[in-house]
Point group: C2
Chain length 458, copies 2
Amino acid sequence: MNEIYETIEEKIADLLEKRQYTALRGILQEMNPADIAQVLSGFEEEQIPLLFRLLPKELAAESFVEMEPEEQELLIQSFSDRELKQIVDELFVDDAADLVEEMPANVVKRILRQATPAMRTSINQILQYPENSAGSIMTTEYVSLRTDMTVEESIQRIRKQGVDKETIYTCYVTKSRTLVGLVTVKDLLLCADDETKIGDIMEENVISVETQTDQEEVARMMSKYNFIALPVVDKENRMVGIVTFDDAMDVMEDETTEDIEIMGGMLPSEKTYLRSSAFELFKNRIPWLLLLMLSATFTGMIISAFEGALAAQAALIAFIPMLMGTGGNSGSQSSVTVIRALSLDEMHLDDLPIVIWKEIRTAVLCGLALAAACFLKIWLVDKLLLGNEDITLLVDAVVCLALFATVVVAKLVGAVLPLGAKALGLDPAVMASPFITSIVDALSLLLYFLFARMLLGV
Amino acid sequence: MNEIYETIEEKIADLLEKRQYTALRGILQEMNPADIAQVLSGFEEEQIPLLFRLLPKELAAESFVEMEPEEQELLIQSFSDRELKQIVDELFVDDAADLVEEMPANVVKRILRQATPAMRTSINQILQYPENSAGSIMTTEYVSLRTDMTVEESIQRIRKQGVDKETIYTCYVTKSRTLVGLVTVKDLLLCADDETKIGDIMEENVISVETQTDQEEVARMMSKYNFIALPVVDKENRMVGIVTFDDAMDVMEDETTEDIEIMGGMLPSEKTYLRSSAFELFKNRIPWLLLLMLSATFTGMIISAFEGALAAQAALIAFIPMLMGTGGNSGSQSSVTVIRALSLDEMHLDDLPIVIWKEIRTAVLCGLALAAACFLKIWLVDKLLLGNEDITLLVDAVVCLALFATVVVAKLVGAVLPLGAKALGLDPAVMASPFITSIVDALSLLLYFLFARMLLGV
């Protein structure tokens, strides 16, 4: 894909330099809005408004929506009030609300001044819902029908109103604003008799979400039910808006990125990596690094407490990293699996006993295989090949017993902690590798020294 | 949501026991297919076919598609040939192809025997494309129009053919099978004049994928362009099928799960966690655990090589876990961020210099903050509070210098390796925490002993 952009970008740059605006316009208006936004972002700040003005009105608004906030602000600053009004008029209200949320106060004032009173009301309505709720991502522009309308009347209504609606393919049937059913355009087109009443063909058991529903839940339902749009209702089941599948896809991507960032031991970021400054990256990364570093005080204390034992059996020190590393890896495998299953709604709190039993059996299998491999490796490589004289059968046994116990404990801790976090209403993703590793580090050392004391008497 | 399922499930179980089949049918036919599949999976093996037979024909097929392979097989085994034919006739070909792929050979034979010759051809066509390609997830059922048709003729055609098509909302315009344009039902309905020719209103610059395109790329394009369906063409630009947004959403979820599993140091799994046996989990987890454990031989060798130094300055041992842990966490933060940016197509190989420069600055900030905090913590907690006599200013300095250097090296390694993997055509997700940690463990020990030798002369 990128090679294509580069050639198109070069072609546009070339035409721009030669001021061949008609040819430029010809190229741009054949492009998809998402591609236009991507190509424009590669140009200089003063060239972007120039290129943007070449776009036909509707395409301009569609491309504007796909741009990054920095470029949107730049464009708005360059717009006359009339130009701004043209764009604002073409926006869907959910996109307008997103824009108002992203822009600085003085830009917001200009945008709202150009919006129609109806749009201002809708924007304000959407903005009043909590962040990441269904209300905050919905649009208020949908086609509504009444039960007593005929199929023909409904199609007429869609033809009249449809141009301003984000989707016309699912229409919602309301009775004094209460949601009572839905019909799809497919139902309408495939209905043999134009005089059929909507009330007779509508689907009555409408699956909807409330304005306060978490956007993650909205995306999950969308992906489960394969809907093009999901209606949003208030507590009295009055229809207030719809969430469309494309917004749900964006939510899925954003929420997964957030999960992955948290699992990587970072605070979730607002911006993409390439748009974040080094200082912003630092701010997102340092809290967990500091916390985990300080928590390593415990492992330090454990080692200090067993300093005498380590001095007596110096060979034991060399296996500490292997033991902690394998424990950490075993634990994070389990935690990552459980976190993902929870976030896909494939696992629930009441599955805890099943999870524990499954992890114990898996851990015993992994522990046995690793301990056996480790035993052989220590004897063949460390003892015979590298000639480490300090290694005895007992030392080898201590390392492998500790390894087995560590793997079992790590897998249990790794699987149970995310479920525990969920039970406490915390984000399970916090209980991923970095966190699990810190706990397992300390536990593996304790187990190691315990076995050393039992078998070697140190 | 779960509480609702439990009550519905209980209600169904109750009615089933009392053999009140009419009431049962009443409840079931009001439900969404995805919910029916979920509820049915909670019943006993002999009850599932009984409940399934209560469903009206179309709903039965829709619910069947939503079920897990185990239950689909169970149902097919219980079907008569006539029942099987009813279901197969209602399936979309992409769902039929999925089914054929999942079922054992004897079941596949039965399914294909019941399929119409046209469907058999389509299934075979889809199955011949490589796994995870656009061809393998597409459906061959779409509405095709010709340029010389009028809007009215097109709507008539949709009304006639639409019932068997997976989506009617985007129609593809072909000329001797070559894809030349598309129109949406919205375009058709909103077109004022019924006699307008399709050739005059169609969108000519159709974005399409080839049959061989990776499904991840298909999902990414879908999410970028917000299409309901994406056309799939062969190398000669002949239209062969479409991928719909709901299949793209499933691909997005599956591919992310695979990424997360690989990042957690596991082989990607075919089944969900709760459906995998302990032995299957073991098989997915043990390869990386073994490999990483054996690679820890290097850290062991480094420690053994510096045994003398550690004996002379026993205080140094206690900080090894903290140093390795902080290094691992710093590195995995960077690798996780880069891996996600690569998989969202937000970052490309030619961004390498930008990434390196950003990581260096971020790493210096993180390293300075951590080293300063560590210096104070060692002096105040380990030295003064815990009274560790072995700690001198020089020991403290060695630890903090090694920490700073480790953080910088770890962040660079963490950011560069995923990009390197991408350049080599490998999956960047392999370069996540477990892998990075193993490398950083060894590097951090080397840096530690280097500074110890320089400053303490051990």
